[in-house]
């Protein structure tokens, strides 16, 4: 990280402009909340840009407001509390469908662990540190997995994996994961030389978010997420929900 440390403090302006690529954005998002200088930069640049945005003001189409109001009338709001305690499973399941993941900083994660998995830290700083560590490796990669077209119930969420083979570490970032059907669970696979290795069984938190830090031994050709019986399988048996090829 040390060579990146100098640079990362200079990314606040580009970040506020949404002008970083995915990898740098994730690295900066892992960094800036805990860096006083960068946090102040981002706040100030965003405030500046909001004035530039205001100078673009136009009259919205007269029908837009009606559509917005109709949709929000049917849209459940997120609770003011970011999840910070264990909620019971039934409550979490009940809420999963309506709460798409959003706040990247709120890495509230419930993990059911099986197989070889190194669990590192769960609070956001630990996850953020792991992510920064992965992204700081020269061979770091970030892949957005493609959602299979047969995934249930429309919006199946989004899954990204950042990893470094030399660093032997991966971070999975999922948002908006819908509830797994009863008796089933998501399972993540690292596919190397055509052989899927079970990574772990995933269960998203109430808001559909998942941040998982994993230890990897092999260099993946692809990453996949399938639906499996609760507890997971040793080899994929279920529908492929997400797949990304390196």
């Amino acid at each position: 990280m040390s060579s990146n440390d100098i640079d990362i403090h200079h990314l606040g302006a580009a970040y506020a402009l949404d002008a970083l690529d995915d990898r740098e954005r994730m690295a900066f998002e892992a960094h800036y909340p805990s860096c006083e200088v960068c946090r102040a930069d981002v706040l100030a640049f965003r405030a500046t840009l909001s004035q530039v945005a205001a100078a673009q003001s136009i009259l919205p189409s007269p029908t837009l407001k009606g559509r917005v109001m109709a949709e929000i009338a049917q849209t459940r709001q997120l609770s003011p509390l970011l999840p910070d305690r264990v909620t019971d499973l039934a409550e979490r399941r009940r809420r999963q469908r309506t709460m798409g993941g959003f706040l990247a900083a709120a890495a509230a994660v419930v993990l059911v662990i099986s197989g070889a998995l190194v669990l590192r830290g769960g609070d956001p700083p630990a996850y953020a540190e792991a992510l920064a560590e992965v992204l700081g490796q020269p061979d770091a990669r970030v892949l957005t997995l493609d959602a299979g077209d047969s995934s249930a119930a429309g919006d199946g969420g989004a899954v990204k994996v950042a990893w470094s083979s030399t660093g032997e570490m991966a971070v999975l970032i999922a948002d908006g994961l819908p509830e797994a059907p009863d008796g089933a669970a998501y399972e993540l696979w690292l596919i190397a030389d055509g052989v899927p290795q079970p990574m772990n069984v995933l269960e998203a938190a109430a808001d559909g978010q998942l941040r998982v830090v994993l230890e990897i031994d092999d260099s993946p050709d692809s990453w996949g997420v399938t639906i499996e019986p609760v507890g997971g399988s040793a080899a994929p048996t279920g529908e492929i929900l997400f797949l990304g090829t390196v």
Binding site: A54, S79, V109
Partner: protein
């Protein structure tokens, strides 16, 4: 096997909402499910949200979709707004720009997009869309932009309105990435000093 709970973060404490932000009260009410308050908030924010989204997305019908997404997101997240992290306007502008960028980057690879003519950050008066009377804002922004060097301004515009990453801007302008990073940073600092960064 075990169940592990990870994650913890701060809540948006209502007491921290900046009382000097007139929209903060409306958003707080909206966060409690008050649709009438949200309707007022919409009236305040929609010209900016729709305007900035259109500048980035360009296509009017897609822009409307994106703007609608932005407002639904504001509604969903209203209770989590944290006044210590910027004004409501700044929050909404950030979200609107981010969503617009997501749309253009998913629509087509940014590299394939034609490097459009760099347009002014301030809309032309003869633009076909009906501009809202924000003459003061536009005047201040125009004057602030005039303080930038042409190279700084070009880099900022390609990034903010063109929706390009700074790496793409470097390719478009055929200069080193470090050079673009510097122009963007210096330009933003200048703009912040002219416009203020504490709205």
């Amino acid at each position: 096997m075990g169940v592990l709970r990870l994650g913890r973060t701060t809540r948006a404490d209502a007491a921290q909402v900046d009382v000097s932000d007139p929209l903060g009260g409306l958003l707080r009410q909206a966060g409690r499910g008050d649709q009438e308050a949200f309707a007022q908030l919409y009236d305040e924010l929609a010209p900016m949200v729709v305007g900035v989204v259109l500048r980035v997305v360009r296509d009017p019908s897609q822009s409307e979709e994106v703007a609608q997404e932005v407002f639904v997101e504001l509604w969903r997240l209203a209770a989590r707004y944290d006044g210590t992290k910027g004004s409501v306007g700044s929050w909404a502008a950030t979200m609107a720009h981010r969503r617009a960028i997501d749309r253009v980057r998913s629509e087509q690879s940014a590299r394939n997009r034609v490097a459009r003519e760099v347009s002014n950050l301030v809309p032309d008066h003869d633009d076909v869309v009906e501009r809202v009377e924000t003459t003061l804002d536009q005047g201040r922004v125009r004057r602030a932009l005039d303080m930038l060097s042409p190279l700084q301004r070009e880099a900022l515009e390609l990034a903010y309105f063109g929706g390009h990453t700074y790496r793409e801007v470097a390719v478009l302008l055929d200069v080193a990435e470090g050079t673009v990073k510097t122009r963007i940073r210096d330009g933003m600092i200048r703009l912040r000093d002219e416009l203020g960064g504490a709205q």
